[in-house]
Subunit: 506 residues, 2 copies
C-alpha cells in the first residue's frame, strides 16, 4: 500500500509537472508579447497562446488526475496535513476542482462577454460615461453569480470568487479585518490631510535622465537580492513580474523621464515579487503547489514589503541617498536628506488607486470591497454604483471624484470579470506589515544592516519563513505560523503611525 | 466524393496547422534562449523545448495524418500535380514518411551520440588533434548509414541524407553541376591569386563604433525590404533568422567593433532569409508546405542574392557609400569609392569556410561534398580524412592548412550528424546567380533603381516568382519554372567573371 501510494503520487506530480512545463512556455510567449514582439505578430501570438493554454488546461484537468487524487486522498500520504505530499495533494485537488467545475459554455460566455466588456469599458472611461458601461457590467456580474454557484460555497457566494485570488480566505474574516482597518485608517488620513503639510515635490518630479534611472534602479534591485543571473529587467507598458521556471524570473517596468520614483519604486516592487518567485523551490517543486506562491495577497505582501516598508524607509536611503546624489548631482546634489525622504513619502488623498501613496491606498480597496459585497449580496444595483462610489469616496477621503473616469470607471478589473481580486491588494499591505514587525523582532539589527546596504538577512528570513514554504499553508495559517498571531490590521496601523506621524503630525 | 475529399483535406491541414503552431512556440523559446534568457534558465528551457518538440512531433506523426494522406492520395485533389492542394499533400506525405521511418531507438542513439560527438569535436578542434575525434566521428557516420537505410533510396544512400536538407535533390545531379563548377572555378581562383592584387583592408578593418553600425545596418536592411513592423533585429553569438509565424520574423547578428563588414553583410544576409520568410504566405498557409520554404539551398539563395550580388555590388553602394561616409566621416570621409568597393570584395584563398569570400566559398563546399561522397560510398576511411582534406585543399586553393583545426576539424556539421548539409550552401550560390540573371533580363533597369536606393522591384520579383510559391515546386523544378532552364553553374561563373575580372584580372 505504501509502495502503491508513492507510485501513484509520482504519477500525479509527473502529470502536473508536464502541464505546468507547457504552461510555462506560454509565460515566455506572454512576456515576449509585452516586450519585444513586432506588432505584426499579434494575431499569430494569440493563436499560439490559445493553443498552449488550451492544451495545458486539458492536461491539468485530465480525468486521470482526478482518479489519482481520489486514490491518494485515501492514502497515508495525506495523514500529516502540512507534509509536502499532503499539501501538494490538497492544493492539486483544489485547483483541479476549480478547473473542472465550470461548464465549457460558461467559460466561453465569460471569455466573449469580458472581451467585449473591456472594449466598452475603455470607451466609457474615455468618455467618463458610466451609462455606456452599465449594461455589459451587469452581464459580467451576472456571470460572476453563475461562477460562484458553479464553484459552490458554504456561507457567502463572494467566498467562491475571492478563492480564485486568495485561496481558502473567507469573506467574513476579510470583512472583519477590513472593518477594523477602516475605523483606524479613515481618521488617520483625515489628520494627515488636515495637517496641511506637503513636501517639495520638485525634488522627485524633475528631469531624471532615463539611462541613469535604469542603472540606479537595477543596482538597487540587485542589492536587495533580486538575482540577475536568474532573471532580467525589461521595459513594458504595464509593469509586471513573471516567474517562468527554475532560474528564470523576469521583471518589467516603465520609465518616466519626469519622475524619480515611478520607475525606481516600481522596479523595487517587481523585484519583491521576483525575489519571492526566485525563492520558491522550483528546482525540486516546479509545477507543484509546494513550489508555488500562496496567494495574490501573499505575493503582494512581498512586493510591498520591499517597496514601501524597505525602499521608502529611512535606513534604506541612509545607504542609497548619497548614491542617488552621485547619480543625479544636478538635481539632488544640494537636496537635504530629510526633504528627499519627505518627498518620496508624500501622502495626499487622490482619486486614482494606482497613483495612491501607501497610507491612502487601502482606502481605495475598502471602498471597492464594500461595493463588491453589495453587488454580490444584491444590495446594490449596477446603476447605483457611481452614486455609492462617490458617496463612500467623499466619506473616506474627504474629496469627491469630479467624474466617473476618476471614480468607478478607473479600473479594468470588473470588465475582466475579476470580482474578488481587489481585496488581495489590501491584504498584501496587512500581511507585509505583520511579517515585517516579526522580522524586526527576530532581527533587531535589521535597520543597521540596511544603513550599510546589506539586505541579505531580511531576504534570507523571507526565503525561509515564506518562500520555501510554497503553498504548504493557506495564507491565514501562514501568517499564524510566521508571526504567531492571526491576521490583524494593527501591525499595519502601527507601522503607518510610527512612520508618518513624525512627518505630518508632530 | 469531391465533398468528402475536401473535408478530409481540411481535417489534414487543420492537424498540420495545430502541430506547426505548437512548434512555432518552440521557435520563440529558441530565439529567447539565444538572445535574452538569463543564464540560470538553461535547464528549464531545455525541459520546455524537449516537451514542446516531443508533443509537436507526436502531432506531426499521428496515425490519423497517415490515414488521411492515404485517402487523399487517391482523390481528385492530387490530379493537378502543382495545385496547392496536391503540393500540400505531396509534401506532407514526404515529411510524414521521413518523420515516421526512423525507429525510436535510432533517433535516441543519434541524439546521445551526436551530443557526445559535439563535445569531443570541440575539444579536438581546440587541440587541433583529429585522433581524438576519429572514433566518435566513425560512429556518427555509421548512424548516417543506418539513417539512409531506414529512409530508403533508389540509387545512392547519399540521396537519402541530402533529402533532409535539399528535398527531391539527387546526388547524381548535384555531383554533375558541382563538377562543372569545379572545373571553371579552380582556375579562376588561381588567376585571381596569381594577380597579386589586394585592396587596402584598413578601410574596412578599422574602429567602427557599434552603435552606428547598428543604425546603418538596420537602415539598409529596411531599405532592401525587410519589414520591421513584422520583424526584429537582435544580437546573438551565432547569427540566424527565425520565422516564427505570420507577421513575426526575427533576424540576429553580432557586431565586431573592428570591422565594417561582418555585421553589415551579416545583417543583409539574414535580411535576405527574413524577406523570404516574410514573403511566404503564412496568413493563409501557415504550417502548410505551400507556406514553407523549398529547401535550405533555396533559402540560402535568397540570403546570398541580397548579401553578395546586391549588397556587395556597385549599384547598391552608389546609393549607400555617401551615407556610409556620413555615418563614419572619421574613417570613410576621404576614402575613394573604388577603394571601398575593392575592400568589400577582397578575394583570397583562406582556410576557414565561414570567413571565405564569395569567389572561393564554393571550393570549400566542393571539397566537403567530395569527402562526404567518399565516406558514404565507403571509398574513404575516417582515419584518412585529414590527409585527403589537405591534399584536395592544396589542389583547389594552392595553400595547405597548417593543422586540422584549420582543416577538417573546423565545422560542427559532421559532429551533429549533418551529412548532406554542406552542398546546400553551394547550391544557394548557384540558384542565386541563375535567379538574378533572369531578374536582370526581366528588369533591365534594376541597377539604375538600386543606385537610387530603390530595391522594391527585385523584392517584388522574388516574392512573386519564389516566395509566394512555397513548396509548390521542388527546387530543381522551381529553377526551371523561374529561369526557363535547369540548374547550371554557368550563370554563377558568368556573374563572378563579370564582377571580379575588372578588379583582379584587367
Amino acid at each position: 500500500m505504501a509502495e502503491d501510494a508513492k507510485k501513484l503520487y509520482e504519477e500525479l506530480i509527473e502529470k502536473r509537472r508536464k502541464a505546468a512545463l507547457l504552461g510555462s512556455a506560454g509565460s515566455i510567449l506572454g512576456w515576449d508579447e509585452r516586450t519585444y514582439m513586432p506588432r505584426g505578430g499579434v494575431e499569430h501570438r494569440a493563436n499560439q497562446m490559445a493553443l498552449i493554454s488550451g492544451m495545458a488546461h486539458e492536461m491539468f484537468t485530465s480525468p486521470e488526475i482526478g482518479e489519482l487524487l481520489s486514490k491518494l486522498e485515501d492514502s497515508e500520504l495525506v495523514k500529516e496535513r502540512t507534509s509536502p505530499e499532503a499539501a501538494n495533494i490538497r492544493e492539486i485537488r483544489r485547483s483541479y476542482n476549480k478547473d473542472t467545475k465550470l461548464p465549457r459554455e460558461l467559460v466561453e460566455e465569460i471569455s466573449s462577454t469580458t472581451t467585449k466588456a473591456q472594449g466598452i469599458w475603455q470607451d466609457a472611461r474615455k468618455k467618463a460615461d458610466f451609462s455606456i458601461f452599465k449594461d455589459i457590467l451587469g452581464k459580467v456580474f451576472e456571470l460572476n453569480f453563475r461562477v460562484a454557484e458553479a464553484y459552490g460555497y458554504e456561507k457567502d457566494p463572494y467566498d467562491a470568487l475571492l478563492d480564485d485570488y486568495e485561496p481558502h480566505a473567507t469573506t467574513e474574516e476579510v470583512a472583519r479585518v477590513f472593518a477594523g482597518l477602516r475605523d483606524d485608517l479613515v481618521p488617520f488620513v483625515e489628520k494627515i490631510k488636515d495637517s496641511g503639510k506637503h513636501p517639495d515635490m520638485s525634488i522627485i518630479e524633475n528631469d531624471y535622465d532615463i539611462h541613469r534611472q535604469k542603472l540606479f534602479a537595477k543596482a538597487a534591485s540587485a542589492a536587495i537580492g533580486f538575482d540577475y543571473s536568474k532573471g532580467r529587467l525589461d521595459e513594458t507598458t504595464h509593469p509586471f513580474c513573471t516567474g517562468i521556471g527554475y532560474g528564470d524570473t523576469r521583471i518589467l517596468t516603465r520609465y518616466n523621464p519626469k519622475h524619480f520614483g515611478q520607475a525606481f519604486f516600481g522596479v523595487i516592487h517587481e523585484s519583491g515579487h521576483g525575489i519571492y518567485e526566485q525563492g520558491l523551490r522550483k528546482d525540486e517543486n516546479f509545477g507543484l503547489p509546494m513550489g508555488q506562491s500562496v496567494s495574490l495577497g501573499i505575493h503582494e505582501s512581498q512586493s510591498l514589503c520591499w517597496e514601501n516598508i524597505v525602499s521608502r524607509g529611512k535606513p534604506f536611503w541612509k545607504h542609497f541617498f548619497p548614491r542617488a546624489q552621485q547619480t543625479y548631482p544636478e538635481i539632488l546634489g544640494d537636496v537635504k536628506f530629510d526633504d528627499f525622504y519627505f518627498a518620496i513619502n508624500d501622502v495626499r488623498p487622490s482619486f486614482i488607486r494606482v497613483d495612491a501613496d501607501e497610507v491612502t491606498y487601502c482606502l481605495h480597496i475598502l471602498l471597492r470591497f464594500e461595493i463588491e459585497q453589495g453587488i454580490i449580496h444584491k444590495e446594490i444595483k449596477v446603476a447605483d454604483i457611481p452614486g455609492i462610489w462617490n458617496e463612500k469616496f467623499t466619506e473616506y477621503f474627504g474629496i469627491t471624484p469630479p467624474d466617473d473616469a476618476q471614480g468607478c470607471l478607473q479600473d479594468i478589473h470588473w470588465s475582466m470579470g475579476a470580482l474578488g481580486y481587489f481585496p488581495t491588494y489590501a491584504l498584501g499591505n496587512l500581511y507585509a506589515a505583520q511579517f515585517y514587525a516579526k522580522a524586526l523582532k527576530d532581527m533587531p539589527n535589521l535597520h543597521d544592516e540596511f544603513e550599510k546596504g546589506n539586505f541579505s538577512s531580511l531576504k534570507k528570513w523571507l526565503n525561509e519563513k515564506i518562500h520555501f514554504q510554497g503553498k504548504r499553508y493557506p495564507a491565514t495559517e501562514l501568517v499564524k505560523e510566521v508571526t504567531g498571531k492571526p491576521l490583524s490590521h494593527k501591525p499595519f496601523m502601527e507601522y503607518l503611525e510610527k512612520k508618518f506621524s513624525p512627518l505630518y503630525l508632530d
